[in-house]
């Protein structure tokens, strides 16, 4: 194993680990739910990404074959992580609005209405319209 490759691998590992840690630190230290939601995205993206890249290189060197399948993990996370974030945000919005503790709104305050002039409301607060093309409400 050549020195440079080793350094690359070690660097990637440390980078990944650092972002994982920072993400979790953000989760702890940021002041309210919506802000905290930003922390873990680092872990999902660069944190794990770094570790997985390190793994790719590592096993290439170790076993002599390209084992790119680690990238699949990232692929799946890229598909799923935004959904998790979205749903958690919805929960936050919903409970902040209906719950008995409105102070959960955090720094940004309550969300503005989508269209200041229109009648519309966010989907969490109002059942999605069924007549728009973007609607996926099942009949």
């Amino acid at each position: 194993m050549s020195g440079i490759v080793e350094i690359v691998i070690a660097g990637l590992i440390l980078l990944g680990a650092a972002f994982v840690l920072i993400g979790s630190w953000g989760l702890v230290r940021l002041p309210s739910t919506m802000e905290r939601l930003h922390g873990p995205t680092k872990a999902t993206t660069l944190g794990l990404g770094g570790l997985l890249l390190a793994s790719v290189v590592f096993f290439q060197v170790r076993l002599g074959v390209w084992t790119a399948h680690e990238l699949l993990i990232s692929l799946f996370l890229f598909i799923t992580a935004p959904i998790s974030a979205n749903m958690i945000a919805k929960v936050h919005l919903h409970r902040a609005r209906t719950g008995d503790r409105p102070d959960h709104d955090g720094i940004a305050g309550p969300p503005p209405r989508p269209d200041p002039d229109g009648e519309g409301e966010w989907a969490t607060f109002e059942a999605p319209h069924t007549d728009t093309q973007a609607s996926i409400e099942n009949p």
């Binding site: 080793e6 350094i7 691998i9 070690a10 660097g11 590992i13 440390l14 990944g16 680990a17 650092a18 994982v20 840690l21 993400g23 979790s24 630190w25 989760l27 702890v28 739910t33 905290r36 939601l37 922390g39 873990p40 872990a43 999902t44 944190g47 794990l48 570790l51 997985l52 390190a54 793994s55 590592f58 096993f59 170790r62 076993l63 084992t67 399948h69 680690e70 699949l72 993990i73 990232s74 799946f76 996370l77 799923t80 992580a81 959904i83 998790s84 749903m87 958690i88 945000a89 919805k90 929960v91 936050h92 919903h94 409970r95 503790r101 959960h104 969490t124």
Partner: protein, 89 residues
């Protein structure tokens, strides 16, 4: 060198897990806890990858892949439960 880096990474991730645990324990909102759990799953994937490299075999890949794929399902389900009560409508 890689070994040392892995050790450091392991400790860092362990620390991260502890932090997640703290958030999970403290809340205060349910959304916070779900978020903490979700993050924990991500971090466990990281642990698994690190363990895989430490042990030098890649049979752990599947576990990580599976977690990445289905780990979010429970997060979603918890959210859906809080939003709608009924997770399947």
């Amino acid at each position: 060198m890689i070994a040392i880096a892995l050790q450091i990474a392991a400790i860092a991730i362990a620390l991260a897990l502890l932090l997640n645990g703290w958030r999970l324990y403290r809340g205060p909102a349910l959304a916070d806890r779900i978020l903490a759990l979700d993050t924990m799953v991500i971090n466990v994937i990281a642990v698994i990858v690190v363990i895989g490299m430490m042990g030098g075999n890649d049979t752990y890949f599947e576990a990580a892949l599976l977690l990445a794929m289905v780990g979010f399902v429970s997060t979603i389900a918890y959210c859906k439960f809080l939003l709608r009560g009924d997770i399947v409508e």
